[in-house]
């Protein structure tokens, strides 16, 4: 659904995983932008009905881009930069305590 505008040779590539699959991103991307560019359409499932959600605002307001990163839930993908080796998973329902 999304793609890079240009090849942009000067950028450094960053690798991470989403639901166990390898994803290539560019240094400086927010995690949300990187996932959208990689074709991800569901970031989380809501605690109330389990409906799929994906980023709405991309600026930290809507919290529909919440994902689990390296086992830590409730992370706002639009506010974080991608980092090498991140293990990202869909957040299913509410976060647990702990």
């Amino acid at each position: 659904m999304f793609e890079r505008l240009t090849a942009q040779g000067k950028s450094v590539s960053v690798s991470f995983t989403f639901e166990g699959e390898a994803v290539e991103a560019r240094e400086g991307d927010t995690l949300a932008a990187a996932l959208l560019a990689a074709g991800v359409t569901s970031f989380r499932e809501t605690p109330v009905s389990g409906a799929a959600r994906a980023p709405y605002c991309m600026m930290g307001v809507c919290f529909d881009c919440l994902v689990e990163i390296d086992g830590v839930p409730n992370r706002q993908a639009c506010m974080l930069l991608v980092a090498e080796g991140m293990a990202v998973r869909i957040q299913r329902g509410a976060r647990g305590l702990g």
């Binding site: 240009t6 927010t30 709405y56 605002c57 991309m58």
Partner: protein
């Protein structure tokens, strides 16, 4: 705890201009911002983009490139700029607590200057929670921050300058929107009474830009539907189609991506949490904090500048940031009243020029009734999935106001903390109870203003 003369929150145009001005006059200033780089939403990603992709910088236009000067001045100043810092509490004693890289810490300041800007007005339509429905601003942020564009032509729904600008930027980037669904319903004629005021030298530049955007859109051949209402976004797992009624009758368009926009409103969270006074702005159809001509709020020592005080646009915000900075400098005893007034005079004149277009824009693009008072089956609280009809039902049972609605429905109690349902909830109460928005009021906002783990909270080094 570190002590500063001024803590500025937000590094968009108002915050950057304020912090730079304060530092230049010898104030000890910290600038806290949630984003990884300066610029706010309007100049998002501009530093990286200017180095990495000059072609995209050119595509985004000269008004965007203006942000580079502000950032250059900020970087050259003594201001202590701290990116990636999400402020989660400002106390009345002016301690500012924030989370940075998973660690929370506080700073103490004599003056707090809030420059937290605006957010896009919520657009509660049937289906607006489906993946593939985003705000126009979100699509623009993807362009600015990552050079990412849609592969499928988006359907743009709404009204206002940002929607037109996004259409133009997408056309220039080689993706023609599938259609523009124009929800504006005001007769252009009635808005024309605001035209004379907009005809100053600066106002004319905005008018010319607006007209050139409209011309570009018309020439592109993108289908434009006027007088659009009764919009329903359809889909199971994601967006599949948009149904609506336009001047030409009922329509249905297949769509994989939808961008919504009905203008922007001030971000209220921090000032609300401080119990600053707010007032309903009829012409902008939003709450805004009560501020004096210097940005002074009802709380002593708390100044508010930029779109967070009242929507005026990026350049007006820059001037507003400097005006508030001069006031702060005077309060700190760094400059006298005479110097403050003199320094602010030029800023005010320039700011007036940029504000002259606003009454015309406000009159041309009021939010449509369908998003202020959505149908019963429309989700208004995205986090807790509360529908407008559920709220109306508890109002009929005697629910008194937005804060009681939280206990009835958990409305506004999810992770976004009411940011995306607050405006709608106030409107629905006002309509159902026949009260003014001022009388209904808004959610009581409490810290932490951003989700914080108990562990992070427990690990705060209070003496640090």
């Amino acid at each position: 705890m570190e002590i500063f003369d001024v803590a500025v929150v937000g590094s968009g145009p108002a915050g950057m201009a304020a912090a730079t001005t304060l530092a230049r006059h010898g104030a000890h200033v910290v600038l806290l911002d949630e984003q990884p780089a300066p610029g706010g939403q309007i100049y998002r990603g501009i530093e990286t983009l200017s180095k990495r992709d000059p072609a995209l910088l050119a595509l985004l236009g000269p008004d965007y490139a203006r942000g580079l000067d502000l950032i250059h001045d900020l970087r050259a100043s003594e201001a202590d700029y701290r990116p990636g810092s999400a402020v989660w509490q400002v106390t009345p004693e002016k301690q500012v607590w924030y989370s940075r890289a998973g660690v929370s810490q506080g700073v103490a300041a004599k003056i707090v200057l809030l420059a937290t800007g605006a957010l896009e007005r919520p657009v509660p339509l049937s289906g607006w929670t489906l993946p593939g429905v985003m705000t126009a601003g979100a699509l623009q942020i993807l362009l600015k921050s990552a050079g990412v564009k849609a592969t499928e032509p988006p359907v743009l729904i709404g009204a206002g300058p940002l929607l037109l600008l996004l259409a133009k930027q997408y056309i220039d980037a080689g993706i023609r929107p599938a259609a523009v669904l124009d929800t504006a319903r005001v007769s252009k004629f009635s808005a024309l009474r605001h035209l004379p005021r907009a005809l100053g030298a600066t106002g004319r530049k905005y008018l010319a830009k607006g007209l050139s955007l409209m011309t570009a859109l018309r020439r592109s051949g993108v289908p434009i539907y006027r007088g659009v209402r009764d919009v329903v976004i359809e889909g199971e797992e994601r967006v599949e189609a948009v149904r609506f009624v336009s001047a030409q009758g009922p329509q249905r368009l297949a769509a994989r991506l939808v961008a919504l926009h009905e203008g922007i409103v001030p971000s209220q969270q921090i000032a609300r949490s401080l119990r600053c006074d707010f007032i309903w702005d009829k012409s902008q159809h939003s709450f805004r904090p009560v501020v004096d001509s210097w940005g002074g709020s009802s709380m002593p020592g708390v100044l508010i500048a930029g779109d967070g005080a009242r929507i005026g646009g990026a350049v007006a915000a820059e001037h507003g940031g400097r005006i508030a900075a001069f006031e702060a400098l005077q309060q700190l005893g760094k400059i006298g009243e005479g110097e403050r007034d003199e320094a602010a005079f030029a800023e005010r004149r320039a700011q007036q020029g940029h504000l002259a277009i606003r009454p015309l824009l406000d009159a041309l693009y009021p939010p449509p009734p369908a998003i202020l008072n959505p149908h019963d089956d429309v989700i208004i609280c995205r986090c807790e999935e509360v529908r407008a009809g559920e709220l109306r039902a508890v109002i009929a049972l005697g629910c008194q106001g937005p804060n009681q609605a939280k206990s009835f429905l958990r409305c506004g109690m999810g992770p976004c903390q009411g940011r995306l349902c607050g405006p709608t909830v106030t409107e629905i109460f006002a309509e159902a109870q026949g009260r003014s928005e001022d009388d209904v009021g808004y959610y009581r906002i409490r810290p932490p203003l951003k989700p914080l783990t108990v562990r992070e909270f427990a690990e705060i080094d209070i003496d640090g």
